[in-house]
């Protein structure tokens, strides 16, 4: 449902005066500022939730004990967990509000919003892309001409929807067990614990391995792709990476609306530092999970 129809003018980056700057130096902007901020908040809250939650899930490991004490105890960890749960849900709701604002601004119907080619919703092209990708993987075809969003990006996007719903609802049960059991039976707390914990394991496991590989670690992007933080990518790279979208923008003559000046190197360095921290925490969590589940499980 993310839509690049959104006017670049609304972002903080002013469209550059094309005649003053060489066209080659300009970069293509893929993400709005709000989206980037939301993703950063998402990263911070997600890692915080994972770390605090896993102290309980893997309480039998020394790491959990260490971390729990580092966080100021189980109660403090609990407050952090609930605070970032609130942040994450806020991110989610902000995004939904943003979507509906955009819908109203562009006077689209709900149907148009969902089924436009730039929408996050799966469509026929994704089926073609999946088949094409698999063929490409095994050397039976060219790299498919991916559009605005690839199918794996769409999967990640909806995984968040699923996760927010499943983890959020069970989390609320565990947050307010007395209130919840006025409607639900007592054993639902036990069930909610299992679902909350295992779904969180799935989410962290998936994000810190599959998502990391898909976006950062796959060799052509290695070690990381900072586009989600900077919002910018070089036009040349963009042309090759998302040929379908490039072609469409070129054809409609709107390409220049998305060209922006690159960030100064200091900003890029800051972004990379943040990226490295996030990546390292993610990997640490994976190592911890593997250690806890394979070597320390009792």
């Amino acid at each position: 449902m993310e839509d690049k129809e959104e006017k670049i003018l609304e972002t903080e980056e002013r469209p550059v005066e094309l005649h003053t700057i060489k066209k080659e130096k300009l970069q293509f902007q893929r993400f709005t500022r709000l989206n980037r901020v939301l993703h950063i908040l998402m990263i911070v809250s997600f890692i915080s939730l994972a770390l605090t939650g896993m102290t309980l899930k893997f309480s039998y490991t020394g790491w959990a004990v260490f971390l729990s004490h580092l966080l100021g105890g189980f109660e403090s960890a609990g407050y952090i967990h609930r605070f970032f749960a609130f942040v994450m849900v806020s991110v989610f709701i902000t995004h939904l509000i943003d979507l509906f604002k955009m819908k109203r601004r562009e006077k689209k119907t709900l149907r148009q919003l969902i089924f436009s080619p730039d929408s996050m919703m799966f469509n026929k092209k994704d089926v073609k892309d999946i088949i094409g990708t698999l063929k490409w993987f095994i050397g039976m075809g060219e790299r498919p001409h991916y559009g605005r969003w690839t199918y794996w990006e769409k999967f990640d996007y909806f995984a968040v929807f699923w996760g927010i719903f499943v983890i959020g609802s069970t989390g609320l049960t565990l947050w307010f067990p007395e209130t919840m059991t006025s409607i639900l039976p007592g054993w639902f707390i036990n069930v909610a614990t299992i679902i909350h914990s295992d779904e969180a394991l799935l989410a962290t496991g998936f994000i810190f391995t599959v998502h990391f590989f898909n976006t950062h670690l796959r060799p052509e992007k290695f070690p990381m792709d900072i586009v989600i933080f900077s919002g910018r990518t070089s036009l040349a790279e963009y042309k090759i990476d998302r040929p379908a979208e490039y072609k469409e923008l070129l054809d409609s003559g709107r390409l220049e609306d998305f060209l922006v000046e690159p960030y100064p190197p200091i900003v890029i360095r800051a972004i990379k530092v943040f990226g490295w921290i996030a990546l390292s925490l993610g990997f640490s969590i994976i190592v911890w999970i593997i250690y806890a589940m394979i070597f320390a499980y009792r």
């Binding site: 309480s59 004990v65 189980f74 109660e75 993987f137 794996w152 054993w187 299992i194 060799p219 090759i240």
Partner: protein, 666 residues
């Protein structure tokens, strides 16, 4: 014969003498054909006060004062009744006359005399030994009750003293263990009463030594033999046992004179005084030597006794000789009689019994060099009451006292092979140790409260206060209410009949590391302790939020006993149980204020490993696991396929991008 019956028997003797006399007269009268010498016949010669005879080469007077004879108890007795060998002889009779035969009438006394030391010496021909007439006189014997009698009580000390006084041949030439007998006696309580106050019932020599069967103390038949002393003294001092109850416990004194001190150990013979010790082996006598700071034994030990210390001790009223009771005042150096260590049990009999059956006593009996004796803990001359704060046995001083041997590295700790280590340190850090030593609570349990003061035994001994069987009772001495709760709980052997080991106090609370039950360390460790037996429940507990938080090391969450209770644990079926249907919600409410019946339906020990007991959880878990595995499988395959292609694509991309640069530059 003894003092009390002496007077009585005396009467009997007189009566029997009279009857014998009558019988004898009768026989004489009926046997008229026999030659009968009348007293007048005898006095014809012996009434002459110049009449002498030769005996053993000496000239002796053989005059008989007829007036005295007439006035004597034997006034009506014929001369020949006593001088029986002259009964049938003609006059003037032969000169070598046998001694008068008192035994013809006084046969009991004669037998006793013959068994006594005096009789035996006579039989051996000892010229110093006394005969009947030595004491009783001959023709002038008066009624024993008469003040003029030679054996009147008031005269006896001097009568005996005529031989047994200092310097007399008997005292010099014969082995008499006591010295200054007459002097000592006359100054003693008994002597003063008799001789100065004229109290005829006060004991004289014969009262203790018996009148006729006098025997040395070494003879077991002697009235003054060690085992008979108590019986002899109690003839007069009948109620003395109640006075000395602490020592003799009824008849113990008479039964065990070899263990207990007998009368004369404290009240030396012949010197008996009200203020007895000054006159006995007085402390001052001992301190003449032992008051010297440089006094050393042959093996170099200091033999100095600090008199100030002694006077400040609990034994300030006890004389040296009461403890060093083998001291012998009749020896030149009385203390040479001391050959063994002080046996405190002569007074402290109960403690002595307990100690000798304790491990300390057992080891001491085996001559273990490290085994403590009384002295080790109580000190010797400076023994203080355990209620005195400076005493080593004062409540707060006991841990450091026991530490002398039981501290890690000290002999007792080295010898010990059990599991309890670092006990002194652990105790000091324990709730009891802190209560006693930091808060100064003298009622707090110290070593001896659990292990007893004198009856310490290893916990393996069934009679030990710290044996599994007795632990609850031992702790219950202070924690009575808890013991009662435990007694009715599921952990009590009276409630649960099982072969398995039921927990006792120290299984959960430990022995020397007992901590406050609200301390985090204890709250956390208790789960492991419960888990030692309730393995499955402990494991499933750790699958829940409560368990996870606990495992992270935080105590502020429900632990076993927050729900189950501690000493009052009951089966869930019991309505009084904390977890019975009636009480469960209330129990949850202790932490979860808003708890409802529905909320209490939470499975506190649920695990997803039991499909039968917890099917919903089991299937939820496997559902989630399926989702997880499925997702990762698809994503994993996708990624693995992508990886080699991506490596290749990286190169292609680089080439394309550099081409693009060239294009744009050209």
């Amino acid at each position: 014969m003894n003092y009390r019956s002496y007077g009585m028997l005396n009467k009997e003797t007189i009566i029997s003498s009279f009857s014998k006399l009558l019988l004898f007269s009768f026989l004489i009268l009926s046997g008229s054909d026999a030659i009968a010498q009348s007293n007048d016949d005898c006095l014809t010669c012996h009434g002459d006060n110049t009449l002498t005879a030769k005996k053993n080469g000496k000239t002796i007077s053989v005059y008989v004062n007829s007036k005295e004879l007439k006035a004597s108890v034997h006034g009506d007795v014929q001369c020949v009744d006593c001088h029986v060998d002259l009964a049938k002889s003609d006059f003037p009779h032969k000169t070598n006359v046998a001694p008068a035969q008192c035994g013809a009438c006084h046969d009991d006394e004669q037998t006793q005399y013959a068994q006594g030391i005096h009789g035996k010496r006579i039989a051996k021909g000892d010229p110093l030994a006394p005969r009947c007439q030595t004491c009783h006189g001959s023709h002038n014997i008066t009624d024993i009750k008469s003040q003029s009698s030679a054996v009147a009580p008031i005269k006896i000390p001097f009568l005996c003293g005529s031989c047994h006084r200092e310097g007399a041949p008997v005292q010099v030439q014969r082995k008499i263990p006591e010295s200054h007998i007459l002097e000592n006696y006359s100054e003693s309580l008994h002597g003063v009463a008799l001789l100065q106050k004229g109290l005829a019932v006060a004991p004289n020599c014969a009262s203790c030594h018996s009148p006729h069967k006098i025997l040395p103390p070494s003879d077991p038949q002697s009235t003054i033999a060690r085992q008979n002393i108590a019986a002899t003294c109690t003839k007069c001092h009948a109620e003395i046992e109640t006075v000395h109850r602490k020592i003799i416990k009824g008849k113990l004194w008479e039964k065990t004179p070899h263990v207990l001190p007998v009368c004369i150990d404290c009240h030396p013979p012949h010197k008996i005084q009200k203020v007895l010790y000054e006159q006995s082996v007085a402390n001052q006598d001992c301190l003449n030597c032992h008051g010297r700071t440089n006094l050393k034994s042959k093996d170099g030990r200091s033999m100095f006794v600090d008199v100030v210390q002694l006077q400040n001790s609990i034994h300030s009223q006890v004389s040296c000789s009461q403890c060093h009771n083998t001291v012998n005042p009749s020896l030149e150096r009385p203390c040479t009689g001391i050959t063994s260590k002080v046996d405190c049990s002569i007074c402290h009999a109960q403690e002595g019994d307990q100690f000798s059956s304790s491990i300390h006593g057992q080891l001491l009996a085996k001559n273990d060099p490290n085994a403590p004796s009384c002295e080790e803990c109580h000190g010797s001359h400076h023994v203080l009451s355990h209620t005195n704060p400076v005493s080593p046995t004062f409540h707060t001083n006991i841990p450091s006292l026991c530490a002398k041997c039981h501290r890690e590295g000290e002999p007792a700790a080295v010898r010990y092979t059990g599991k309890e280590h670092d006990i002194i340190h652990n105790y000091v850090e324990s709730i009891h140790g802190k209560g006693l030593l930091k808060s100064g609570l003298t009622v707090t349990a110290t070593c001896t409260d659990c292990h007893t003061a004198h009856h310490e035994l290893p916990h393996t001994d069934p009679t030990s206060s710290v044996n599994r069987k007795n632990i609850a009772a031992t702790c219950g001495r202070c924690h009575y209410g808890i013991e009662k709760q435990l007694e009715n709980s599921v952990h009590s052997p009276t409630v649960t009949k099982t072969d398995k080991k039921l927990p006792v106090c120290n299984d959960c609370h430990s022995a020397h590391q007992i901590s406050r039950t609200d301390a985090a360390g204890f709250r956390l460790s208790i789960m492991t302790i419960c888990g030692n037996c309730h393995t499955k429940y402990a494991e499933s507990y750790f699958d829940t939020y409560h368990g996870q938080v606990s495992r992270l090391g935080y105590a502020k969450t429900a632990k076993c006993w927050d729900c189950h209770g501690s000493h009052d644990i009951l089966p869930v079926e019991n309505p009084d149980s904390h977890l019975s249907f009636q009480n469960k919600v209330q129990t949850c409410k202790k932490c979860h204020e808003g708890a409802t019946r529905q909320f209490a339906g939470y499975f506190t020990h649920a695990t997803h490993h039991e499909p039968v007991k917890y099917p919903i959880m089991f299937w939820t878990f496997w559902g989630m696991t399926g989702l997880l595995v499925g997702t990762f499988f698809i994503a994993g395959v996708h990624t693995l396929l992508w990886l080699p292609r991506s490596i290749q694509y990286r190169k292609e991309l680089k080439k394309k991008l550099s081409q693009g640069d060239e294009d744009s530059e050209s």
